[in-house]
Subunit: 402 residues, 2 copies
């Protein structure tokens, strides 16, 4: 059975004559490139700016216009929470209120001390027939899930996204009873959280240590979970995910990938790339496709730091590729979107795609760059189409007609 390696360097694509990719020293990639097919992927379609979540849905072959549930469910799944159809999930920030209830720090001073316990206190809160589940993820962040009958994701955030404001009142965004009920549950939760956290032992300890109290949890990015057909259901594809970032694990989990825990995979520029390569190679025994997500390139883009992005690409070449090249029948390397250093945000520029197999049509390019990919023999395609190229090359494609 043919095995595919699908490597996504987050935000890989860039703009300009010299890009982090074009300027990176990548001797291992340079050996592979001439025998690969190149192309350009407009992840969601030409001119569309992908979010990280929608981009990955598309990369996994799921049209986000059909399958995107909002961000919350991915955060919850990525945090290892179990979701059932009808659950409404959120991203959660712990923050600091003053005595008047005004948010004075949206991140509780970015001090992580004791925040696990704060989330544990909030977890299990009952609001009528609605149960609130919460888990801590990183820093001041967590994921939250409302479970109960008749809930809706058509509600506004309780996170006002700025300081100097009180916690925002959740409002129903449509006229349904479900939206009204969910908004009321969120506002009741805000009141309960204030009670539960005001004199919380952790906050007393934080006060003693000169840290800001984490005395409120604000929610954003609601999403209604519905189970979708898995990659196995749709394509007969067994896939595993090697990633550090929770979001990517969440999207992978949503489409039915097995998510591996890889020690040292952090989702930062410090991630252990050799460990990821080893995990990917080992996972061949249990899967048709191994998805590897590497986040650091995106961080360089968002920070406008050319060197960070370039060096991350060089690290991938030096520390990741040697462990995986020669171990797979199909190797695909791309980004989920572009995060150009000059833009410091996601853009609609198409990320370049390198598609290699022993039998592919080799473009003969010397270097894998945005420009070479723009002239590549695969042409232009979308994220969901890329997955179908991969499926075809590992004999998992479906013929329409006879």
């Amino acid at each position: 059975m043919a095995k595919a390696l699908f490597v996504v360097l987050d935000g890989l694509g860039d703009r300009g004559a010299k890009t982090p990719l074009s300027e990176a020293k990548t001797p291992n990639l340079d050996k592979l490139t001439p025998s690969a097919s190149l192309g350009l992927m407009y992840t969601l379609g030409p001119g569309q700016i992908p979010g990280s979540d929608t981009a990955h849905l598309a990369l996994f072959g799921y049209d986000p216009h059909k399958y995107y549930p909002g961000r919350g469910p991915f955060e919850a799944l990525g945090a290892g929470m179990e979701l059932r159809t009808g659950d409404v999930s959120f991203r959660v920030n712990l923050c600091t209120l003053d005595e008047k209830g005004t948010i004075v720090d949206r991140r509780a001073g970015r001090a992580a001390y004791g925040l696990d316990k704060i989330f544990q206190t909030l977890d299990g809160t009952k609001i009528g027939d609605v149960t609130v589940r919460m888990v801590h993820t990183v820093e001041h962040r967590g994921a939250g899930v409302l479970s109960g009958p008749g809930l809706s994701a058509a509600v506004s955030n309780t996170d006002p996204h700025e300081t100097g404001q009180p916690v925002a009142e959740a409002k129903p965004l449509d006229s349904s009873a479900e939206a009204r009920k969910t908004a009321k549950a969120l506002n009741d939760f805000t009141a309960k959280a204030r009670e539960l956290l005001a004199d919380h032992p952790v906050n007393l300890e934080r006060k003693e240590k000169g840290l800001k109290p984490a005395n409120m949890a604000v929610l954003r990015g609601p999403g209604l979970y519905q189970q979708v057909p898995s990659l196995v259901d749709r394509f007969g594809l067994k896939a595993v995910c090697v990633a550090g970032g929770a979001l990517y694990k969440g999207v992978a989990s949503y489409v039915g990938m097995k998510v591996l825990d890889v020690a040292g995979a952090t989702g930062t520029t410090e991630t252990d790339l050799k460990a990821k390569a080893q995990a990917a190679v080992k996972a061949r025994d249990e899967a048709d496709l191994i998805f590897v997500h590497i986040k650091g390139t995106d961080a360089g883009g968002h920070d406008g730091n050319f060197e960070v992005k370039r060096k991350m690409i060089e690290r991938v070449d030096a520390e990741f590729l040697p462990g995986v090249l020669g171990q797979f029948d199909v190797v695909v390397l791309t980004g989920d979107h572009s995060t150009p250093v000059a833009a410091k945000r996601h853009t609609a520029d198409a990320p370049p795609v390198l598609f290699w197999s022993e039998t592919c049509r080799p473009d003969g390019a010397k270097r894998f760059t945005e420009l070479a990919a723009g002239h590549g023999c695969l042409g232009q395609f979308t994220g969901t189409e890329l997955m179908h190229f991969i499926l075809d090359y590992i004999d998992k494609g479906h013929m329409f007609g006879e």
Copy 2:
């Protein structure tokens, strides 16, 4: 009036650095190539694997997601049968049952002796108000049509697709009365066919000759015929078809092409290519577009035989092109899909397209190859879009807006 020649080398596209197309000696094509525009055609869209039937619908400008009726009607039309809206058509195999009713040979030993008469015996069978029509095509194969009120194509095959099984029971695939009626008619036909063929004179003769009896007909690929708007209706395009294979004649007939009978056009690697060229040139008087289908390239791909595929391309260059080049205002040469030698099946790899007219944008490529097409100035497009390029160059296009 401008005349277009549209030549499809079945399964032309291939994979790898050296392909049958790139390695074929094609001096005539090489003279045309530099003055042609090249491009890549994802027949049904990037990543989609086309069947032969859906691919040709797309090439003729008919979106198969809208117009594909299943395989059966094309087989019946290709066999020269007339279809009316509501008819349900099938591919038919004559096979051999043992005395217990188990299929012991799905092809009746591949011996054609007397099979015309077997099909004639089955033709005209009445099942209540349903009439079964059948014709012999090639080898052990034929086409069958059920006509009558209230029929449906939502039925399973009676062909079990393997030996050691009895004839499969046709089952309704939805809960409609039409599907139930059609399934019952098929099962009644199975019983009648057994009676009609058990002691058929041809089978007695076959027995004497040591041949396996053709004592059952199994059906597959049901399709409900509905008349679709013709090429004349949609585009004002008069087209003729020069093909050997019945399927291609069937799709051509479905869209309203006039199907020529060309002596020596066999749909095999032995087909008479000079006769096809002559027929194409002669047909200019009665049509705007002449579609020529050449099958042998696909056979090489399916057999994994590089040399068969390469030589077929060389035969097209030596025996077909000299007769047609210089005789048409537009010449388009492509495949319907790729059948790479390494894959031995249809794949999603885009077939290359050569598009020539006196006034086209010449790419200046030295050779027509998959790679050159991937870098061609026409870019990438789908099968239905290619037909619109052709329509435009022969002044049959339709402007949207003013």
